[in-house]
């Protein structure tokens, strides 16, 4: 077998895994791995900050379902990528991150740009490994991709000391090999994710479904991870059960479908929240009873029995004890559930649910999502901007959000009718996610239009990656909803801190977003009046050779409704309508 060096082996291993693109930034310790990239068909995208590389890898994975790859150097580069690792861990996004490390003889000596990367990232990765021998590199890469993409997906980090990849060092020589499937599983004796649901439990679940009179399907991000959107549609239609889609599952069930109730949770719509509260059976599919969904836990859906399907056994019973726990892959389990329900007689075996349906449609009529239109001369309403954007972009546009009010409005007002069209940071709530994640999504899906909807606070955290996008000709589009505030924090201070605004004002004019965008090689547009909104979006949609940034000047007083205050019961949901009554 031919002798090669560790750096070549690392790149060859990535090629073996089908990697097409690496998001990264080189530096001292990772230098030897950057040399063979020149000779590799893998595309490398040079980021401006390592955090950007991590979020791009995430955006790529969100949009394609394939693992995103980021590569950075040691020390500060490794610490800069901790946030994306944690973000990917919380949202179960498969990414593989490769960090350089000082040479093995220097480890532990506080060498230049040394840090304990494996120690620092241990609790924010599904797995990590400090690779100490060149001969371990192919195995470690194969394992990293296997672990990142199977079971509950997540981030895996490989820390690569310089001496095992440096061709000038004899320690970097190895005989190339590629582990077989059998060698892979023999090397991981403790890792065997359960994918097939227990037949007995599936039968129990089917029985609960056909007996229930007020069922709701509580669909989470696991549906998308398991490529289970079609199976979900079949189950919902077969049993005629309404579906709520969590923040991580927007698009997993079409918003235009008659059974879709939209997003539940702290800023979910009234019907989604209230139907869960009043249900007698919650069918939780790839969802994890997050506090932003349940509100005060003892008061959450008090009469509901729970069927909980998740590939991670630790999620079952973590928050709410299920009546029927099923460990398994959502797609496989739902397909079995469909069969089991049919065996019991299908829809005809179910009780009459017309009362439940009319209660639901009553809530929908009484409490639709709504907002007050702006008066002439006033700042734009963010919801109005989003409606315009939604209605003038292709149906399969990929929408990427940062974190805060703009994220909630986008999730609420967009119509997601296709899976993998919504990319956002759910669990960790990472401000600054949108721009780099949108770049990653566009690299993964160049055929799709990609719009980042961002807040002014978020945009200032990672905007420099637009330089990356302009340089690499990645034509994303960014809509900044500029309300000159850290809007969500402002909302909480207004509602819960007696309008005492502490450190939330950002200024509408500083920075000048239009000039900033242009300085970064993008087209910059500023929109202040309602009649300018449409033409600006049309113009942006027509530009396909560089990124476009539209700054929309929006009303800083606008708040996100409905809202379940933190720690309150979902029964105490504040709607736009009820809030207005209180004020008047």
């Amino acid at each position: 077998m031919p002798q090669i060096n560790g750096g070549q082996a690392l790149i060859r291993a990535l090629e073996m895994e089908g990697v097409e693109v690496i998001f990264g930034l080189p530096g001292g310790a990772i230098l030897p791995v950057y040399d063979p990239i020149i000779d590799s068909p893998i595309r490398h995208i040079l980021v401006r900050h390592e955090q950007g590389a991590g979020h791009m890898a995430e955006g790529f994975a969100h949009a394609t379902g394939r693992p995103g790859v980021a590569m950075v150097t040691s020390g500060p580069a490794a610490t800069n990528i901790v946030t994306p690792l944690c973000d990917a861990y919380m949202d179960s996004i498969p990414i593989v991150v490769i960090t350089g490390q000082v040479g093995t003889p220097s480890i532990g000596t506080d060498a230049f740009q040394e840090c304990d990367t494996v120690g620092i990232t241990r609790s924010v990765t599904k797995h990590n490994e400090l690779v100490t021998e060149a001969a371990d590199i192919p195995r470690a890469v194969r394992e990293a991709f296997h672990i990142a993409t199977t079971g509950r997906p997540g981030p895996v980090l490989l820390d690569i000391p310089k001496d095992i990849v440096d061709p000038k060092n004899p320690r970097s020589a190895l005989d190339w090999y590629w582990p077989s499937e059998a060698e892979l599983s023999a090397g991981l004796p403790g890792y065997k994710p359960t994918t097939k649901g227990h037949p007995r439990k599936i039968k129990d679940a089917a029985e609960l479904i056909v007996q229930s009179t007020r069922p709701v399907i509580y669909a989470g991000g696991g549906i998308l991870k398991a490529r289970a959107a079609e199976a979900l549609l079949e189950l919902a239609e077969l049993c005629d059960i309404p579906v709520v889609t969590t923040l991580m599952a927007r698009g997993a069930f079409p918003d235009d479908h008659r059974l879709c109730l939209g997003m539940p949770g702290m800023h979910g719509n009234y019907t989604a929240v209230t139907s869960m509260q009043n249900s007698d059976l919650l069918i939780a599919l790839g969802s994890r009873f997050d506090d932003r969904v349940t509100g005060k836990i003892p008061n959450f859906a008090p009469e509901a029995k729970i069927i909980h399907v998740d590939i991670d056994p630790a999620e079952l019973g973590k928050v709410r004890r299920p009546d029927v726990p099923i460990v398994g892959d959502c797609r496989l389990v739902i397909e079995e559930l469909v069969r089991a329900v049919k065996d019991l007689g299908g829809a005809s075996a179910q009780p009459d649910r017309s009362t439940w349906k009319s209660r639901i449609s009553g809530w929908q009529e009484k409490y639709p999502l709504t907002y007050e239109q702006s008066e002439p001369g006033d700042a734009l309403k963010p919801q109005f901007v989003l409606e315009q954007l939604r209605d003038t972009t292709p149906d399969d546009t990929i929408v990427v959000a940062g974190v805060g009010q703009h994220q909630m409005w986008t999730s609420q007002y967009w119509k997601f009718n296709h899976p993998y069209t919504w990319v956002n940071s759910g669990g960790l709530g990472t401000m600054g996610f949108a721009v780099p994640a949108a770049i990653g999504a566009k690299v993964g899906r160049p055929d799709r239009m990609v719009w980042a909807v961002d807040g002014d606070g978020c945009f200032q955290m990672t905007a420099q990656e637009l330089v990356t996008a302009a340089t690499e000709r990645i034509p994303i589009k960014v809509a900044i909803l500029n309300n000159a505030y850290l809007g969500m924090v402002r909302q909480w201070q207004e509602m819960f801190y007696e309008e005492r605004y502490s450190e939330v004002y950002l200024s509408p004019d500083l920075p000048d977003y239009k000039l900033w965008a242009e300085a970064m090689g993008c087209i910059g547009i500023r929109v202040e009046a309602p009649e300018e909104v449409q033409p600006a979006i049309d113009k942006a949609n027509d530009i396909d050779d560089r990124p476009v940034v539209i700054e929309f000047r929006t009303d800083s007083r606008e708040k996100v409704f409905p809202m379940v205050p933190a720690g309150a019961s979902n029964d105490d949901i504040i709607t736009f309508q009820s809030h207005r009554e209180v004020i008047q």
């Binding site: 494996v118 120690g119 241990r122 609790s123 599904k126 797995h127 400090l130 100490t132 672990i147 991981l188 004796p189 403790g190 890792y191 065997k192 359960t194 991670d312 056994p313 630790a314 019973g317 973590k318």
Partner: protein
Amino acid sequence: MSDGIGYRHHILSVLVENKPGVLARVAGLFARRGYNIFSLAVAPTEDERFSRLTIVVDVESAPLEQMVKQLFKLIHVVKITELDPRESVERELLLVTVSAAADIRGQIIELVQVFGGRILAVGLDSLTISIEGAPDKVDDFEELLRPYGIVELQRTGRVALPRLDRTPRARIARVS
């Protein structure tokens, strides 16, 4: 719990791959999830690829089931067995230096003999003693010795295996 034996304490026998950082992963998980470790003993098994951790956990701090499930998510954890103290063999070693002036030294030596311990070192006015046995026996010995004045004390934490003749009834908490 003072006796360390009550049923709020559970013994987890955790088979792990013998890889660098495994102990840090386990300890880090317990710390991050807010679980309490009562005692922990680690050593390689008969198969050099694996080590066995015997962890006594305080279950008041979190439900045992969640603890086991989270532990099993660590890639290097191969198998987790919950050992019922009533159906397993447990041993612990105690080293102790105790004040032992000449006039009371005889009483202490007698106590050591009753418990089957050994005198490891004799000083002018102190003794160093080792005793090995079931944790409750070690607890008893420690209590009885305390009035004499303990100078220094170190326990190993317990190690355990399922009791052979009752193995079929041992609770196996293997998550898969």
